[in-house]
């Protein structure tokens, strides 16, 4: 999003709107973006947790196979 070298993220847009109160945007759109952003962060957290769990289980399996 945007014409800069680095893409403008949803967070950039949210910060921009927060600190430029003269820019008016429909409330329902902002609210929906906030819901998506929250859900996205929760899924990212779940994803990281699952990655750690998978690695731990792989290590446990390797240790179990080594012990035999």
């Amino acid at each position: 999003m945007g014409n800069s070298i680095l893409p403008l993220t949803t967070d950039d847009l949210a910060r921009g709107l927060l600190f430029n109160p003269t820019i008016v945007v429909p409330y329902d759109q902002i609210e929906q973006t906030y819901r998506y952003r929250t859900e996205f962060a929760q899924l990212q957290d779940k994803h990281r947790t699952l990655q750690i769990q998978l690695s731990s289980k792989a290590v446990a399996l390797l240790k179990e196979m080594e012990s035999k």
Binding site: M1, G2, L43, A58
Partner: protein
């Protein structure tokens, strides 16, 4: 053997050691006994996008270690087990493997959900951005770092500065000399 002879002998040994070091250096350069544990993650061939990309450092660490053969991934283990199924020889092995499979399936489903939500979020953000006036677009685009720093990080900076000033003020009377 008198003191002078001892001194001459020690000097001779020192000279021999220095000569040995010089010969070793001139033949193969100075090589440490163990390989270096420092790796260069980014160099002059990397562009600005490489440095500022999301998770640039962690991604580069993985890439560097993969090039040097330093990381075994879960996929490596699964491929190895696929080639050697006899390694899963006990019920505990099978149970652990089934747990891994279940976690992997949940992980893939979560990735799908992440992509769907990210797509929806970006679409909506783009929709909002495109509805703005050109001047507002430019303002948000050009001031995004400043907005971030002044609006969020600055609070922490100012809070730390205030704490330092408060500490200095409370300590000041003790440092005063009568």
């Amino acid at each position: 053997m008198n003191t002078r002879s001892w001194v001459n002998m020690v000097e001779g040994i020192n000279i021999l050691l220095v000569l040995a070091l010089i010969i070793r250096w001139s033949w193969g350069g100075w090589t440490p006994s163990s390989p270096t544990t420092l790796y260069t993650l980014f160099d002059s061939t990397d562009g600005m996008d490489d440095l500022h990309a999301p998770d640039a450092v962690s991604n580069r660490i993985v890439k560097t270690f993969q090039q040097n053969g330093g990381i075994i991934t879960v996929e490596d283990i699964i491929r190895h087990l696929h080639d050697h199924p006899e390694l899963l020889s006990t019920p505990t092995h099978t149970a652990l493997f089934e747990q891994m499979l279940l976690t992997q399936t949940t992980l893939l489903n979560t990735e799908e959900e992440l992509q769907i939500v990210e797509l929806k979020m970006n679409k909506l953000a783009l929709e909002i951005y495109n509805s703005l006036a050109e001047t507002d677009k430019v303002r948000i685009r050009s001031r995004r770092n400043t907005d971030s720093v002044e609006g969020i990080e600055a609070q922490y900076w100012n809070s730390v500065l205030k704490q330092i000033q408060d500490t200095e003020n409370t300590e000041e009377p003790e440092h005063r000399t009568p």
